[in-house]
C-alpha cells in the first residue's frame, strides 16, 4: 500500500467527492430497482425479468443435448407413496376410458383420435428417475408408457415434429403446457399410463399423462386431452403466472 502526503484541502475535496459519488450511485441503483418493480407485467413478472428469463432460455436451450439422459435408478429405489401436488384439469372425477380419446391435431387441421388401448399397443418404456418439482422437492418415481418419439414415428407425425413447440391441454382445458420440441423428443419423455407398475391413479392423471424428465413437474401435464404442434409458443398455465416458460433441466 502506497503512502502519500497531500494537503488537508485535497483530503477534504477527495473525501467529499467520493461520498457524493457513492451516494449518487446508490440512489441510482435504488431508482433502477424501483423502476423494474413498477414495470408492466409480462406473464406475471416485470418485463425486464421476463426478458432475462427468455435470455436464460435462449442460452441454456442452445446447449441442450437430447442424447444426454436423465439419471435413472433401479425400480426398488422408487418411492411407494408418490406425492400428489396439483389437481388442475382433473375436476371431473369420473373419467371413462371407454369414451376418453387422446386427440392429436395435425398440421393440416385433421384430428386423430386414440383410445388408451391404441397407445398401449406401442412398445412400453419404463423409467425410474428423480421427479423434480419447481417448489424444490424431488422424488424417485417409477413410470411406464410410450416414448413420445416412438408415438411420433409410429403414427407418421414427423412433419409435425419439425415445428418448434408442442402444446397440450387437459380435456376441460383448465391446465395447459407448451414444450419446446427438442425436450419433448428427448428419448425419456413418455406418454405415461402406469405408475409403480399399475395403471395411473386418477390423481396422477389417469388415463394418460406426460412424463418429461428434463423438465420440472409443472410441465408434466396430467390427463392429456389434446396434443397439438406449433411454431408459436403454445400458452402455458404457469408461465402466465410468473414462472419460466422453459423450466428445463
Amino acid at each position: 500500500m502506497k503512502e502519500k502526503f497531500i494537503s488537508e484541502r485535497q483530503v477534504k475535496y477527495k473525501t467529499i467527492f467520493a461520498f457524493l459519488f457513492f451516494i449518487l450511485a446508490f440512489a441510482a441503483g435504488i431508482y433502477l430497482w424501483k423502476l423494474v418493480r413498477k414495470e408492466p407485467q409480462a406473464g406475471g413478472v416485470p418485463t425486464t425479468l421476463r426478458k432475462g428469463l427468455m435470455y436464460d432460455e435462449k442460452l441454456f436451450s442452445s446447449t441442450f443435448n437430447k442424447d444426454k439422459l436423465v439419471k435413472t435408478y433401479p425400480k426398488s429405489e422408487a418411492v411407494k407413496k408418490v406425492r400428489v401436488n396439483g389437481n388442475l384439469g382433473l375436476k371431473n372425477p369420473n373419467i371413462d376410458t371407454a369414451t376418453w380419446r387422446l386427440q392429436v391435431v395435425k398440421n393440416n387441421g385433421d384430428t386423430m383420435f386414440f383410445s388408451l388401448n391404441d397407445i398401449k399397443k406401442l412398445p412400453k418404456t419404463e423409467i425410474v428417475y428423480d421427479f423434480k418439482c419447481i417448489e424444490g422437492w424431488s422424488q424417485k418415481t417409477w413410470w411406464g408408457g410410450v416414448r413420445f418419439s416412438d408415438f411420433i414415428n409410429h403414427y407418421h407425425l414427423n412433419n409435425e415434429a419439425k415445428l418448434n413447440y408442442v402444446g397440450m391441454n387437459t380435456p376441460d382445458k383448465e391446465y395447459y403446457v407448451g414444450i419446446d420440441m427438442p425436450s419433448i423428443l428427448q428419448p425419456q419423455t413418455l406418454l405415461c399410463y402406469e405408475m409403480n407398475g399399475k395403471p395411473l391413479p386418477v390423481n396422477q392423471g389417469y388415463p394418460l399423462r406426460l412424463i418429461i424428465p428434463v423438465k420440472y413437474g409443472i410441465k408434466h401435464l396430467k390427463r392429456i386431452g389434446t396434443i397439438y404442434f406449433s411454431n408459436e409458443r403454445p400458452p402455458d398455465y404457469w408461465a402466465e403466472r410468473g414462472y419460466d416458460y422453459y423450466s428445463g433441466h
Partner: protein, 233 residues
C-alpha cells in the same frame, strides 16, 4: 500536510459495493424460493433446535407465495453476481492485490491471535498489513463460497445439462443443501463483517468509499531512544 495511505483500489470498491446489493437480492430471492420447500432444520437427537424458518420470520419479511417472483429475480441477478465476482477475481489476480488477500503460512496461526485480541482475551496486537490474518482467511473464504454457490446453483438449475456439477455436489438434493448452507454462511459473514466495521471505526469505513485512509501523524516524542526515521523529515 496529511499522510494518507492508498488502501482500496477503485475497482475493488466498485466490486464490493455492487456485490453488496446484488448478493442481497440473491439472498432475498433465494428465500422466496426456499419457502416453497422449507424442509431444513437443525436437529440434535431427534429434537429440533432451529427450524429454517419459523412462520413469524416469513411473515415479517412478506415471503409466502412468491416462488415465481423469487425465481425470476434469482435467474436474472445471478448474472450480475457471477460477472461481478468473476471480474473481482480476475482483477485481484492480475493487479497483484491477491498478495494482500490470500492467507500465508502464518495466517492460520495468527488468525487465532486476531480472534483472541478482538474478543479482548489477549492484549497482544496481531500483525496487520492491509488485512490481518483473520481477514485474509475470511475474505478468501468468501470468494471460495461464491464459487461454491455458483457450482451448486448451476447443479440445481440444470441438473441434467450440468450433471457433472450435480455429481460434484453429491447429487441434486445435496446441491440444494450446500447452496442453502452457503447462504447462511453469507448472512453470518455479513453479521461479523458489520460488527467488525463498526468496531474498526469511521476512518476504516471511509477508506472503502474514498480508497485512502488518513494516517494520524504522531508527534515525535522527545526521547533520544525513539527513532523518528519513519516520520517525515
Amino acid at each position: 500536510m496529511q499522510k494518507i495511505v492508498k488502501k482500496h483500489p477503485l475497482a475493488i470498491r466498485w466490486f464490493h459495493w455492487i456485490n453488496f446489493p446484488v448478493l442481497g437480492v440473491m439472498v432475498w430471492s433465494g428465500l422466496l424460493i426456499y419457502w416453497a420447500n422449507d424442509v431444513y432444520a437443525v436437529k440434535i437427537g431427534g429434537q429440533q433446535i432451529i427450524k429454517f424458518f419459523p412462520k413469524s420470520f416469513y411473515q415479517a419479511l412478506h415471503v409466502p407465495f412468491r416462488l415465481a417472483e423469487g425465481m425470476a429475480y434469482h435467474f436474472v441477478f445471478m448474472w450480475l453476481f457471477f460477472i461481478n465476482g468473476l471480474l473481482y477475481v480476475l482483477y485481484t489476480a492480475f493487479s497483484g492485490q491477491w498478495r494482500y488477500l490470500l492467507p500465508t503460512k502464518k495466517s492460520f496461526k495468527e488468525a487465532w491471535l486476531v480472534v483472541l485480541h478482538d474478543l479482548h482475551i489477549s492484549k497482544k496486537v496481531p500483525p496487520q498489513t492491509k488485512y490481518n490474518a483473520a481477514q485474509r482467511i475470511a475474505y478468501s473464504a468468501i470468494v471460495v463460497m461464491g464459487l461454491g454457490s455458483l457450482i451448486s446453483g448451476l447443479a440445481i438449475y440444470k441438473p441434467v445439462q450440468f450433471s457433472l456439477l450435480a455429481r460434484l455436489c453429491g447429487g441434486y438434493e445435496s446441491a440444494r443443501v450446500i447452496h442453502f448452507i452457503l447462504t447462511i454462511g453469507y448472512c453470518l459473514f455479513f453479521l461479523v463483517h458489520i460488527i467488525q466495521v463498526i468496531l474498526a471505526g469511521w476512518r476504516n469505513f471511509q477508506s472503502m468509499i474514498t480508497g485512502f485512509e488518513v494516517i494520524p501523524v504522531k508527534k515525535p516524542i522527545p526521547d533520544e531512544n525513539v527513532s523518528t526515521s519513519n516520520l517525515p523529515q
